[in-house]
Amino acid sequence: MEKKFLLSLLFISHLSFADHDEIEDLDFESLLATDVQITSVMKRTNKASTTPASVYVISNTQMLNAGVTSVAQALTLAPGMQVRKIDNNKWAIGIRNSAGRYTSKLLVMIDGQSIYNPSFAGVYWEALNIPIYDIERIEVIKGQGGLLWGSNATNGVVNIITKLSNDTRSTKISLKTGTTLDYEMSIRVGGDLNIAENSSYRFYINSQANDKSDISRQWTPQDEGEKDSFGARFDVAFNSDTSLLVQGDYTEVKMGQTLELPHPTTFTGSEVIQPHNRKHTLLMLRLENRLSDSANQTLQTSYAKQMGEQPHYMEKFQNYDIDYQINMLLGLAQLDIGANYHYNTTPFVGSEYLSSENDTDNIKKYGGFAQVSFALIENELDLIIGDKSEHNNLTGWEHQPSIRFAWRADNSQFLWASFSQGIRTPSLIEYDYNTQVNGFEIKSIFETGNDLVDNTRIKTFLRGSNQLKSERIDATEVGYRLQQNTWNADISLFYSEAKNTLSISPTVDPLLVPSIITLLQMGDLNGFSQYIQNQTVNFNFNSDSKQRTYGADLILNWQVNASANMTFGFNYATQEQYRVNNDLLEFNGHIKQAFFALNKKINETHNVMFQSRWEDGSIYRTEDFIAVDMSWNWQYDRHITVSLTGNNLLEQHHLEYARSNDTFDVATYIDRSFTLGMMVDF
């Protein structure tokens, strides 16, 4: 019995489950964190232990024990996540594929509100500045989640779930400083609202600044940064059946950066030092209503504004979203139906590096989904089928059907299989924009033997196309979970075939080569220079390629004793792109990660957490590296907690990201760092 209880403690930190029979093993806090209804009102997983998908849940306790200072860093706690630090502000994060600064196959949400950027359909991780202590959990869903969550969730979903304001009705102050982190100061104030019984609020202010790195891949590091945020959340319970959530955040980011942008005359990559300033606003309103014991409905409206200023790219996007969802239990079946409308204003702001091909100034999406889950064999075998169909004004109607099987072999074994189709719609960079990139060298076309001529670069553009089709990914996944008294295992295998993946084909003026030869034969180098200045090479985006991805995830948890818990993880994936004209957009290769974490509660007041990740560097053009982090937390009294965290302890610094041809950002070496923190709870 004791062992079972211990295991439940370990398991809930990773798998937030709560079946009727499983509730008996939950501890006090976990009971309060469990949703009453099996149906998911905010598209969050409820029964990860019996969810037919690869799910990992990072708990609030894990984040605090590890001393993380950002959501992006918190994701390193999930085995199998590809989390690469480009510099002290920027991150490349992905799941089951090589992560990029502009990875666009991962959907990220805060409390169900998508925070993606339409220009590259990815996320500016550095603009996320929610106080870690107010995050209830982060759910990481590996694999396709398109049916419930929408397009662009083809490789995974990260759902950041913040705490109910009812659970934060106190004042909390957090102060941190360190060798890389200059300072972090945050204050949260919470309390009851008088407008309705059982209603509450919280306000927070969070300010963070970091120093620059010691060494850059090239040139001098400029990656110091500042983040300032404030926000509020209001939870109003009109009665036990109807509640309203209103929340909003505003974040300003000022970060230094070194960019490698094409020189105006030589078109070679040259150093540009300019700050990147961002202003992000998020507003969300969600009305939840329980129709009966077996049905509930949710209406969510949200608004997001993202403004970005940097030398090569200005952004001024606004998103408006409306989502409606109804979930019901009908006998042994669960039915989820939803509809959504999304409007995005994307006014184009040109720069010397960017122009618009089609003047796409808005993106509209509307659609719906239906999913039914029912028992083929009661309490043993479930079938979940559904489809999400969505229309967008770039590529038309897209459909994302899915079939999943969930088999509880016995009380300790669970098997699942999933067959689904996911959609990734083109981003504005791919669909609409012409982006000037580092110039194409003449020797890439033909060689004259004259180095001066061969190394001369021609003005080069990445050219978007409104003929692009959505990428269509057919994915097959199987998984197995085994729960024993003191340990459990979670294994998943995946294979996906993607059609219409991006490729780029260069188009060169057919007269270019003969003209250069003629000018050189005439010895007219001035004429050659003038001629080259007026020439361009266009790399046109096409959706004619295919990609195959396959691999495996393994997570083992071992509750060593009442105070110690270990997690082992191994993740392997291969990505192969074929029928492609070049390899500029995707990298063929392997992703490998080995993960180990140990959490040891020394006594009632002291906790130590150790974590290490071995990362294969080949696909990122870096050396393999081992990241070792360690954190100590001391609960001084019931109000004060002190923490000391060391990151990247094994090396003075290492490079985590060296791909330069899919981003203008110049990566820096990530330094060893120490952070001292104190949290006061009044």
Binding site: L164, N198, L330
Partner: protein
């Protein structure tokens, strides 16, 4: 058109099942789980309750008792097995209860009327609007799809029940509003 057909088939499949009360069971299971921790983190000075061999949770709600019996099976509180007892009418001379759970106003009014002259120091837990104002000790509330609770430490103290700060910290402290 194909998708309409699929939707119609889905609805038909679902409609062929009978509605059950799975969600209620889950909610009851959660409440029973929380009651276990209320009991674990409290001490009752009533000597009658201290001496009996089981830790007894009583309710006049049959569905709750059925679920709580399963959820709390094999649980122990201070070396005593937890027993969930269905009591049709909570009369003063019925079996002593450490916790009494009320899920409707009627059963609580009945309890109050019959115990006015002979109160026993049970922990009174409800799922009733304004339960604390009505003299209850802990009241369950639903917020944002989760179960939370209001607690009246002073009222508990008055009945000789001492609750640990952990429970009070996780709940919402409420004073009785006599007006």
């Amino acid at each position: 058109m194909t998708y309409r057909v699929v939707l119609i088939i889905l609805f038909t499949v679902c409609a062929s099942f009978h509605t059950n009360a799975q969600t209620s069971q889950r909610e009851y299971a959660l409440k029973a789980g929380l009651m276990y921790y209320f009991a674990l983190y409290s001490q009752n000075s009533d000597s009658v309750l201290t001496d009996i061999s089981h830790y007894v949770i009583c309710s006049s709600s049959q569905p709750f008792v059925e679920v709580a019996e399963k959820t709390l099976a094999h649980k122990k509180i201070r070396q005593r097995d937890v027993k969930v007892q269905y009591i049709q009418s909570l009369l003063p001379d019925s079996e002593p209860c450490h916790i009494i759970f009320f899920d409707n106003q009627q059963s609580y009014s009945q309890y109050q009327a019959s115990h006015n002259n002979n109160p026993r120091n049970a922990m009174l837990i409800g799922d009733i609007p304004h339960f604390i104002d009505l003299g209850g000790h802990i009241n369950f509330i639903r917020i944002g799809g989760k179960i939370r609770f209001e607690i009246a430490p002073e009222q508990l103290q008055a009945k000789g029940i001492k609750v640990s700060s952990k429970v009070i910290r996780l709940g919402k402290v409420k004073m009785r509003n006599n007006s």
